[in-house]
């Protein structure tokens, strides 16, 4: 694995219940400066993996090295210190509804620094300008559209200039314009901050346009990996079904059920 990986997952397995492992023997390396996607169907274990990287869960086996530290070995104080170097964008933004847009972005600065108010103001305006919402600083989150809320949350998650930015389903429920804005911002922020980004998503087509490298997960395993071009060309049946959105394939259209005739009681009357 390359030396300058920001995240290194080695042989990670995880299970809430030993009989049903959620993750099985995952290996990943996320090089500094890249934008990497973890894709797969809902329930394939990608959110669990994200929680392990965040340090919210500990792997049952293997290790997760994030920003040079084994997350499982950190105590709460060290984990919190680590998280100040990370930013996270939640699925629907998770803005604090009782604070204005300005105060939302200022929140991490106020909590973790003792900067004077005018400097905080400059930093907040800088971040809001980067996502194009300087003019919305005084609005409350309830007055924002879904795409705008996501952009404010993005400004908030990069307020402390993180080294690693995590995205949990950043494209869900966005209109095409907002979606275009968000994908461009992910790339721009990553490159201008010199950060590394990890996108967990099932919106494959959208994500393939922005990432440098993709890990494809199914049933708790990495089943394919490569550059977007390699993934698009993949012959792996599951990847093929997923990328092309085919109705039937390794993932059947029908939920397992007894015979149709039996359920309709054909021939019993």
């Amino acid at each position: 694995m390359p030396q300058d990986s920001i995240v290194e997952i080695r042989n990670v397995s995880f299970a809430y219940d030993a009989a049903q492992p959620v993750l099985r023997d995952i290996n990943m390396a996320i090089p500094r400066g890249s934008v990497v996607g973890i894709m797969g169907q809902s329930g394939c274990g990608k959110t669990t993996l994200l929680r392990i990287i965040m340090g919210a869960l500990r792997p049952s086996a293997g290790s997760a090295q994030v920003l040079g530290a084994d997350t499982a070995k950190l105590d709460t104080a060290a984990l919190y210190a680590q998280r100040r170097r990370m930013g996270m964008l939640f699925q629907f933004g998770a803005l604090f509804t009782d604070l204005s847009v300005y105060e939302n972005v200022a929140f991490p600065l106020r909590e973790h620094t003792t900067l004077p108010e005018d400097l905080i103001r400059d930093l907040v305006m800088l971040k809001l300008n980067a996502v194009g919402l300087r003019g919305a600083a005084a609005l409350m989150p309830t007055a924002l559209s879904g795409g705008m809320a996501r952009r404010v949350a993005l400004a908030r998650s990069v307020a402390l200039d993180p080294q690693l930015i995590l995205y949990d389903e950043p494209f869900t429920g966005l209109d095409p314009i907002s979606f275009g804005v968000i994908t461009r911002l992910i790339r721009q922020l990553n490159d201008s901050l010199g950060a590394t980004s990890l996108i967990v998503t099932h919106d494959v087509q959208e994500a393939l346009g922005v990432v440098d490298y993709v890990y494809f997960m199914a049933a708790g395993r990495v089943i394919a990996q490569g550059t977007p071009a390699e993934i698009r060309a993949s012959a792996e049946p599951f990847v093929n079904q997923f990328v092309n959105g085919k109705r039937d394939g390794p993932v059947p259209f029908h939920y397992p059920a007894p015979g149709y005739a039996a359920d309709l009681a054909v021939g019993t009357a």
Partner: protein, 267 residues
């Protein structure tokens, strides 16, 4: 067959008892953690003052109006009984003692539970459901210290003040009906009240009750909110539980405290 049914019943009963005790222990640990992590709420007192505004100041209207009506009813009912014994001039004493010792803390506590307690539970529960608490944790900010503790202390500080205002408003209501409407002598009304209401036995005992109720209601409210399943149904159930549990807790604690404070009139 009967034995199996009995066994199932016993198992269910045992399950309910152990899960209730487990939950009580969990809530106690939560309270201990909350108190130990109250540094932020006390150091940055502006956070707590904002919660005193939401829990206390915004409850003022319901507290003052309810107090006024309770005092007016006490006055009407009290006068009817007292005048039969020719003791109608003691009306002020009856109104003041009932309010300060019992009705002030209890009724203000019940109103506080349904007005502020339910709001605290719903707010914390919704913050959890919309991942705001998780986002805070990802920003290396402890949600218990930043969100829960200020609400807890805001409630604990507000409740005794609300109970005192409830009693004051009630006494004024009693005065309006007793003196202004029925015509009890104003001098007797106030002077008998002043002579009969004791600082430590009446006022302080009432204050102790309101502090205890404040801690109980706010503890239940923040715990239910923080522990709520992050769904619409989970938050709505937690809000209901807050009102029901804290109302029962107030009435049960009131009995215990009154029993402990009871002097049998031998002071």
């Amino acid at each position: 067959m009967l034995a199996a049914g009995l066994r199932a019943q016993l198992e269910r009963l045992g399950g309910v008892v152990t899960s209730t005790i487990w939950r009580l222990g969990y809530a106690s640990r939560f309270l201990a953690y909350l108190v130990l992590h109250s540094g932020t709420a006390l150091r940055r007192f502006r956070l707590t003052i904002a919660e005193i505004y939401f829990a206390g100041v915004l409850s003022l209207v319901i507290i003052l109006v309810s107090g006024l009506f309770v005092g007016m009813v006490l006055s009407l009912q009290g006068y009817e009984t007292l005048q039969r014994f020719g003791a109608s001039e003691s009306l002020g004493v009856l109104v003041a003692l009932s309010l300060v010792r019992e009705l002030g803390p209890v009724v203000a506590g019940l109103l506080f539970a349904s007005r502020a307690g339910s709001a605290i539970t719903a707010e914390i529960g919704l913050m959890k459901a919309t991942e705001q608490l998780a986002a805070m944790e990802m920003m290396a900010v402890d949600p218990v210290a930043r969100v829960v503790a200020p609400r807890f202390w805001g409630g604990v500080i507000s409740m005794p003040l609300l109970a005192a205002l409830f009693s004051a408003s009630g006494i004024f209501g009693g005065y309006l009906i007793g003196v202004q409407l029925i015509g009890v002598d104003a001098g007797a009304f106030w002077s008998q009240m002043q002579a009969a209401v004791d600082w430590s036995n009446d006022i302080m005992n009432g204050v102790i009750k309101s502090v205890v109720f404040g801690v109980a209601v706010t503890w239940i409210a923040v715990f239910e909110g923080f522990d709520a399943p992050p769904t619409a149904e989970g938050v709505s159930r937690a809000t209901t539980r807050t009102v029901v549990t804290s109302s029962l807790a107030i009435l049960a604690l009131d009995f215990i405290l009154t029993a402990l404070m009871f002097t049998g009139g031998s002071r």
